[in-house]
Amino acid sequence: MSSPALQPRTRVTRIAQEAVDRARLTVVPRVRTRAPRVPFVTLVSVVLLGGIVGLLLFNTSMQQASFAASALEAEADTLAAREQTLRMELDELRDPQRVATQAQQMGMVIPAAPVFLDLETGRTTGVRTPATREQAINLMPPAPIKPANLAPAPILVEVPATTDPATTDPATTDPSATAEQPAARQRGKNRNR
């Protein structure tokens, strides 16, 4: 194992030749243990692949969640709207006007004065007056007086005198379309559901 690198040294340190000879250093042979490559490569590949696939799946699932969120949001919106509409319907069912109309149709009237019945003693306080039809109140108040600009001239559609069905516009001659127009106007703006 004499390497050329050592030679200049021997030349220089001639004085201590002996010592040098004694203390001759030798290079420890390099022990090359070859680690098996396959597991490492596999590991890296698996990590890489796993990462990519995981990222992909993660992304997909996020995208999926986003879709789901949008769908749920839309559903929540619809349900909230439905709830509000139902609440509005309920409010209108509770409208005193409606309740009174039904009650009056059933023959009930609002009494002129209350009478109290004490459940313990069974005695009444107040003057007992018979409820009569005359006490029924007029439930239909007069319609509000419409301003003049709300009695517009009807929209008249000139129907062409020709009898050829091909040249007439189906919409303008459709009797149901024109007939329902005043009805729609009377019902007003979107008050139905």
Binding site: M88, A171, A177
Partner: protein
């Protein structure tokens, strides 16, 4: 070799093009490109704040907001199939066919955005859109457009006001808009499909909408409804021009009902006459007539200048400086007590009794009753009425003021004044807002800021109430029709001439009224009814009295107030 050079040259040329483009993109105006890139796929959604409800005293909504949609057409896509589409839309949404047709064809050439309908309930709109999608129609889309709904229609409409297309146009809606409106928010995010699906992990912002706060009133919806119907019936029956009625809680001054006739449906304000949209009860003045006499009498008793059994000789006519004062009924010289003067509503007697007062003294009392200044309950455009200052008042004017002429009031002012007698001489300032709220001119109103001031002594108020009981007495009084069976009722009629529209003199029509409270010996409610210009002959007792009776009977029953067993008033009316 040549081939290689040509190749390099080509590559160099292509690369230099790329370089030039790079410099153009990044060097010249990078900002605008960045903005355009961000805008591509950016979704910006306005989050509409929900308008606060207006509630009655029990939390029942008088006005509420529900989700709605506006239906928008893109005429570029809808024009071809306009008739079919219009027919379907007008049927489903109950809108005008011809207007829909015009919108679908585009009101202007090249228009891409037309309103077909606004404020359609959300469920109806989405159902209709789904139906259109199924039928293969294109070009119709929806956007948020909240609906203001007044579930009970005309109930309290004159106070609530109404909404225009986008802003409040009257009543509480406008006065308390700042509280009710809330603040709109906005959400932005990146979307890929244009269907509103977010791209995750991309920039998105959310500024949540702040919903409006509810406004709670002291009104009672059912009572308000009943009051309106009964009043409307009387106005119709007597072919009157208009009417107003107030129900007040005697002890708290809370207004439980404040009805105006004619009124309107708050859902359809444009269907009614513009003059009917405000609250006449507060915006219009009128001369109160004889109801005023109880204020004069209570003041006199409080000042120690009169007492209920005090005797007056009432002549058939009373000549005062500028003109002769008469009574509504013909009589010779009659001998009435002060109680009789109130029960029979004698002008002459009241003037004689009020002679003990100087104008300054009388006006001072009336001002403490709340006349001549606004009640500030939070209703827009309230009139303070007219009460001439005492120093400027002539004795003739004072004579007329004593029995309710030559001064003018609004309905709530007068109700609060009568309520002062009911409440043992303490005036509670009326309120229609529960808690407190700030109006658009910065005034805080509501029950939290209600004030109590003593106007007359407890004894004076009691004595006046005793005299007022005589008014509904079948034998001695002028308004037996105002009685509520089983209850002690105290009240006072009023029949006043109406000032001509030009403000000079009287026009021959009258304002009839009845103000009173029950149970008279422990008052819980004050009801005041005014009917303007009835075309059927009658006075406060015959026209307003029965309305008072109906409303009072209903409110006593509704709030479970049992009849008191106190003795009825035994004051003599004559001597």
């Amino acid at each position: 070799m040549v081939r290689l050079r040509v190749g390099f040259l080509l590559i160099a040329m292509v690369l230099s093009f790329f370089c030039a483009r790079l410099v153009q993109l990044q060097g010249v105006d990078p900002g605008s490109y960045a903005v355009r890139a961000a805008a591509e796929g950016a979704v910006r959604v306005p989050l509409v704040a929900e308008r606060g409800d207006i509630l009655d005293r029990n939390g029942v909504p008088l006005a509420d907001s529900i989700k709605g949609k506006m239906v928008i057409a893109d005429p570029a896509l809808t024009a071809d199939e306009a008739p079919e589409l219009a027919r379907l839309l007008s049927e489903r949404l109950s809108i005008d066919y011809f207007r829909t047709l015009t919108a679908l064809r585009g009101r202007k050439e090249g228009s891409r955005y037309e309103y077909v309908a606004r404020r359609v309930p959300s469920t109806l709109a989405t159902d209709t859109l789904a139906e259109l999608d199924d039928a293969g129609f294109e070009g119709i889309s929806l956007q948020d457009d909240p609906i203001r709904d007044y579930p009970a229609g005309d109930v309290a409409a004159n106070l609530l006001g109404y909404m225009g297309t986008d802003e409040p146009l009257g009543g509480f809606e406008r006065t308390f808009d700042e509280q009710l409106a809330g603040v709109d928010g906005e959400a932005t995010w990146q979307s890929n499909s244009g269907k509103g699906v977010r791209i995750p992990l991309r920039e998105s912002t959310l500024r949540a909408a702040r919903n409006g706060a509810a406004l709670r009133t002291t009104l009672d919806r059912d009572l308000q409804w009943f009051t309106q119907r009964v009043l409307a019936q009387a106005v119709q029956q007597y072919r009157a021009e208009s009417g107003a009625a107030v129900v007040m809680d005697t002890r708290t001054g809370e207004i439980l009902a404040l009805a105006d006739v004619p009124t309107f449906d708050a859902n359809e304000p444009t269907d009614a006459d513009e003059d009917d949209l405000g609250s006449r009860a507060l915006n219009d003045t009128y001369e109160p007539g004889s109801v005023q006499k109880v204020l004069t009498a209570a003041s006199l008793i409080d000042a120690g200048k009169a007492f209920p059994r005090q005797r007056f000789k009432v002549p058939p006519n009373l000549a005062r400086q500028d003109r002769v004062i008469g009574d509504w009924f013909d009589h010779g010289t009659i001998r009435l007590t002060l109680a009789g003067i109130i029960a029979k509503s004698s002008n002459i007697g009241t003037v004689l009794a009020a002679d003990a007062f100087s104008p300054v003294q009388l006006v001072e009392y009336l001002q403490r009753f709340g006349l001549g200044r606004t009640t500030d309950i939070g209703v827009r455009g309230e009139t303070p009425g007219i009460l001439t200052p005492g120093e400027a008042m002539t004795s003739q004017t004072k004579d007329r003021v004593a029995f309710g002429q030559s001064l003018s009031v609004n309905v709530v002012q007068m109700a609060a004044a009568v309520n002062t007698i009911a409440n043992g001489g303490v005036r509670v300032s009326p309120s229609v807002i529960a808690g407190s709220a700030v109006t658009d001119d910065g005034t805080t109103v509501g029950t939290d800021v209600a004030t109590r001031t003593r106007v007359v002594s407890r004894q004076a108020a009691r004595a006046t109430a005793r005299m007022m009981e005589k008014v509904v007495d079948p034998e001695d009084g002028v308004a037996p029709g105002a009685q509520v069976p089983g209850y002690l009722v105290a009240g006072k009629t009023g029949t006043a001439q109406r000032v001509a529209p030009d403000g000079i003199g009287y026009d021959g029509s009258t304002t009839v009224s009845f103000g009173g409270f029950a149970p008279a010996d422990d008052a819980r409610f004050t009801v005041y009814v005014v009917v303007h210009a009835p075309r059927v002959d009658g006075g406060g007792g015959s026209i307003a009295g029965p309305v008072f009776s109906r409303i009072m009977g209903y409110v006593l029953g509704r709030y479970g107030v049992e009849p008191t067993d106190g003795p009825p008033s035994r004051l003599p009316v004559e001597w």
